[in-house]
């Protein structure tokens, strides 16, 4: 086991799969020779060469369209959309083409590809480069949606995404890229659709994703240490497939549930999770499920404004305490 950063774990996961499977190819803007704007593909161009690791023009439609056509005809492309905000520039491919092709063709065609993209706030890039759009992807039938919160998961889930026969949108969180943790050295693959229970407690269940996971954990520690509240923290890891078993079991056990979402409030993933929990664990709930989200606003650029609107450790603590009356 080595300490790897999230960013290096991404390239390690890709390299692992490219070594294993010649069908795996990679394309994106500045992804090849330059190693990616976020340095998440460093070394791949040198290792696998220009036929497998390709720079593209600024053509998001062509990037996803080409990846789709290649996936339909035997390759396993990994397409990089530099910032997740730019998924809006090729949303037709995500929502209408890639996600629906297996269905529309009655299973004649499959589109086994991965769309990797840098998601989330924290870099003070402003409203068009900081969004969390995992809920956009969750809303589209036919997609799998993955958003790891740490380096080990990044490697293992990315490998799984590449092997998966369905299209996967893989959200790499910009503010986590420098975070390091122990990452297994050899072949490492995690299953898609399994949430991780990072901490168990009896008073509350906090459900989080990606960059909200370390915040939820930190909040849970403080809640335990300073406020006598013991909380379970669940890292969803995948929005589709959704590990409702884990969610429901821990929600029912504590009866008090909180979602911590970076996406703007309306129709966030937490809304879906809430609707499932209240429908299927209604009688176990001791109080309303509380959603802690970025407000329904575009993101400001200035650092103190950005910090103020994204759910913080302090806000999680405050909202849990308020709900539990402690």
């Amino acid at each position: 086991m080595a300490q790897l950063s999230y960013r290096d774990a991404v390239s390690a996961g890709i390299a692992q799969e490219m070594l294993r499977d010649k069908r795996v190819v990679l394309l994106g803007e500045d992804s090849a020779a330059a190693g990616g704007v976020f340095k998440t593909t460093v070394g791949l161009f040198e290792q696998f060469g220009p036929t497998r690791v390709r720079d593209t023009p600024i053509s998001e439609l062509a990037i996803l369209g080409a990846a789709m056509g290649a996936a339909m005809t035997g390759l396993r492309p990994i397409a990089e959309i530099m910032f997740s905000d730019f998924l809006a520039c090729c949303w037709d491919y995500v929502a209408n083409e890639i996600a629906k092709t297996r269905y529309m063709s009655d299973g004649q065609l499959e589109v086994p590809l991965v769309i990797r993209t840098a998601n989330g706030a924290g870099s003070r890039f402003g409203a068009q480069h900081s969004q969390s759009v995992e809920n956009w992807a969750m809303a589209i039938p036919g997609l799998k949606v993955v958003a790891p919160s740490n380096a080990a998961d990044a490697k293992g889930l990315l490998a799984a995404a590449i092997r998966d026969p369905d299209p996967v949108i893989f959200f790499e969180h910009k503010s986590l890229l420098g975070n390091k943790c122990e990452v297994p050295d050899g072949e490492y693959v995690l299953p898609l659709g399994q949430a991780a229970v990072l901490r168990e407690g009896g008073d509350a269940t906090i459900i989080a994703l990606a960059a909200m996971v370390p915040r939820a954990l930190k909040a849970a520690e403080t809640l335990a240490a300073e406020h006598g509240i013991s909380a379970t923290v669940i890292d969803l890891r995948c929005l589709v497939p959704l590990d409702t078993k884990t969610i429901l079991a821990h929600s029912a056990r504590t009866g008090r549930v909180f979602t911590v979402e970076e996406n703007p409030r309306l129709c966030g993933w937490g809304a879906e999770v809430v609707s499932i929990i209240q429908e299927e664990a209604f009688s176990s709930l001791k109080g309303p499920i509380v959603r802690i989200t970025t407000p329904h606003i575009p993101l400001p650029s200035a650092d103190q404004l950005e910090d103020a609107v994204i759910p913080s450790v302090a806000r999680i603590i405050a909202d849990v305490r308020k709900a539990l009356g402690k």
Binding site: V25, T51, R54, T56, P57, S59, E60, L61, A62, L64, G65, A66, A67, M68, G69, A70, A71, M72, T73, G74, L75, P77, D92, Y93, N96, E97, T101, R102, Y103, M104, S105, D106, G107, Q108, L109, E110, P112, P141, G142, K144, D164, P165, D166, G193, V240, P241, L242, D243, T244, K245, I276
Partner: protein, 330 residues
């Protein structure tokens, strides 16, 4: 252009293909009128020569990418009339058992890699299939068919540029039938020939042909495929043609200036090709036999499709994911 070097057998294949499309599209129309086709449908009556010319020129393992107006190209790759009409009618015998419908005809076993109902969306996809063929070293060529209207959408531009930069074995075929739905293409396009006049933007030669002449289309297709297979990269081909019917089922085509349809009817690709073959010495009975065989196949397909069961409701919940189902949760 001299067309005499096309062998007679090939020309008869072109003729047969056009006749089959012509009959089948007319039948599709009759089936609408009988309310046996429920959704929309976009007929290619008048555009048969493009489909026949390219279809006959393709190798069996080449890829075709169509639009919603894709019946002709699907048939031209060898998909059966039964499977096409069955899909239009939403029957179990349909290519996608009613899940896709007229606008999404797909027959992977015949190289028809889908019909795309978002204008222009399949051009990058075809480029991607060509990239895959190039990478796998298979000498396959991908062809994307699209309308004049599609040349004004961003995906056209991005696909052409990428395909040229990567020298992909892909052929982009614009069927210029003069209209985007109800609006004349000239009124919304900055150049006269929406595809040909833009070839230079991608470093490509300008190719503008009579899309109603099956020989010309066939020969042009062969040249483009040869170039692609030899590693010469993409071609962009504008075929001048005309659709005889409205844009879709719902459209009576009233926006057309008086006499326009009549003018184009004189250039009917099927009728004129028959005349040409007769002039070239093909026996009338040979053509009559082709016609009769096509009609016989069609009649049988029609009856079979009508008799085919409706798909089971449960099929609506299949094939969302690779496990065959639609489960998004455990």
């Amino acid at each position: 252009m001299s067309t005499t070097r096309i062998p007679e057998a090939t020309r008869l294949a072109l003729y047969r293909q056009m006749m089959e499309i012509r009959y089948c599209e007319k039948r599709a129309y009759d089936l609408f009128l009988q309310n046996l086709v429920k959704g929309t449908s976009h007929l290619a009556l008048g555009q048969e020569a493009v489909a026949a010319g390219f279809g006959v020129a393709m190798n069996k393992d080449d890829y075709t990418f169509c639009t919603y107006r894709g019946h002709h190209h699907t048939l031209a790759r060898g998909a059966s009339m039964l499977s096409v009409l069955g899909e239009l009618m939403g029957r179990q015998c349909g290519l996608m058992k009613g899940k896709g419908g007229s606008m999404h005809l797909t027959s992977v076993e015949h190289g028809v890699m889908g019909s795309y109902a978002i204008v222009g969306a399949h051009l990058p996809v075809a480029a991607g299939a060509a990239w895959s063929a190039q990478y796998r070293g298979t000498k396959q060529v991908a062809t994307a068919f699209f309308g004049d209207g599609a040349t004004n959408i961003g995906a056209f531009h991005e696909a052409l540029n990428l395909a040229c930069v990567w020298k992909l074995p892909v052929v982009f075929v614009c069927e210029n039938n003069g209209y985007m739905e109800y609006t004349p293409i000239g009124s919304v396009t900055a150049v006269e020939h929406p595809a040909a006049d833009r070839a230079a933007s991608y470093g490509l030669p300008r190719i503008l042909i009579d899309g109603n002449d099956a020989d010309v289309v066939y020969q042009t297709a062969c040249d483009a495929f040869d170039k692609a297979r030899a590693g010469g990269g993409p071609s962009l081909i504008e075929c001048l043609t005309y659709r005889h019917s409205g844009h879709s089922r719902a459209d009576p085509g009233k926006y057309r200036p008086k006499g326009e349809v009549e003018e184009w009817m004189k250039k009917d690709p099927v009728v004129s090709y028959r005349v040409r073959l007769l002039e070239a010495g093909v026996a009338e009975v040979t053509l009559d036999e082709i016609d009769a065989a096509a009609m016989a196949t069609l009649d049988e397909a029609t009856e079979q499709a009508k008799a085919s069961p409706l798909p089971e409701i449960a099929s609506a919940y299949t094939d969302v994911f690779a496990d065959g189902g639609a489960a998004w949760r455990n």
